[in-house]
């Protein structure tokens, strides 16, 4: 059974600092997605990572994928309060109807 594990689960940061969220998964896949969820809201697609070594950047967020290590990272640079949210990674089992298996989520709180 595919397992997707994120760490840390809770992250309290000060504005201006850098940090990395890690996402490990237990089976071969080269399709990994990062989503953002604000409290009580839906999941917003942030990044689509489709191959080993893929790197995507949007503003202060950068995501990467290492399929050999079965690891994705989400790096936050110079955090700002607006980045406070829960971040989920999800792995796509494309030969099973494309279902997504989600990590537990990382609740990020950026304080002034």
């Amino acid at each position: 059974e595919l397992k997707v594990e994120q760490n840390p689960l809770f992250l309290s940061m000060q504005e201006g600092k850098n940090y990395t969220i890690y996402c490990n998964y237990s089976t071969t896949s080269d399709r990994l997605y990062w989503y953002r969820q604000d409290p009580g809201k839906s999941l917003e697609s942030l990044f689509v990572l489709l191959s080993n070594g893929a790197v995507k950047q949007e503003g202060r967020l950068m995501a990467s994928l290492d399929t050999k290590a079965r690891l994705s990272t989400l790096h936050i640079t110079a955090a700002v309060h607006d980045l406070s949210a829960t971040y989920f990674c999800a792995v796509d089992i494309y030969n099973q109807g494309g279902k997504l298996i989600f990590g537990q989520g990382t609740e990020l709180s950026v304080k002034p």
């Binding site: 697609s45 109807g97 997504l100």
Partner: protein, 115 residues
């Protein structure tokens, strides 16, 4: 930008009652999904649907659950006899095709509260 829409946003139902959650996927999308999220927990896959049939379902999706695409636009999730543990946020998602560069787009969810 096209979006997935879900109704109602909040549904309160007595235990044992039937409930139908409705979704309108993005119009040119072909793959449809339901997920649920119990408060404070991770998002869990329930079922995927393509070409008018279920592609995959999880252990959660037992005989009490069913999905239907009754017309060209709606995609519904029915729970026949609700239990307290069915209380959760239910998300519908759709995707254009099976290619990896096409992420699933999620609706705003229906919060289901079973009393």
């Amino acid at each position: 930008e096209p979006e997935v829409t879900q109704t109602p946003s909040h549904q309160v139902t007595q235990m044992g009652q039937e409930v139908i959650l409705r979704c309108v996927p993005i119009s040119n999308h072909l793959y449809f999904y339901w997920y649920r999220q119990i408060l404070g927990q991770k998002v869990e896959f329930l079922v995927s649907f393509y070409n008018n049939e279920i592609s995959e379902k999880s252990e959660i999706f037992d005989d009490q659950f069913s999905v239907e695409r009754p017309d060209g636009s709606n995609f519904t999730l029915k729970i026949r006899s609700t239990k307290l543990e069915d209380s959760a946020m239910y998300f519908c998602a759709s995707r254009e095709g099976p290619q990896g560069n096409q992420p699933q787009h999620f609706g705003d969810g229906t919060r289901l509260s079973i009393l």
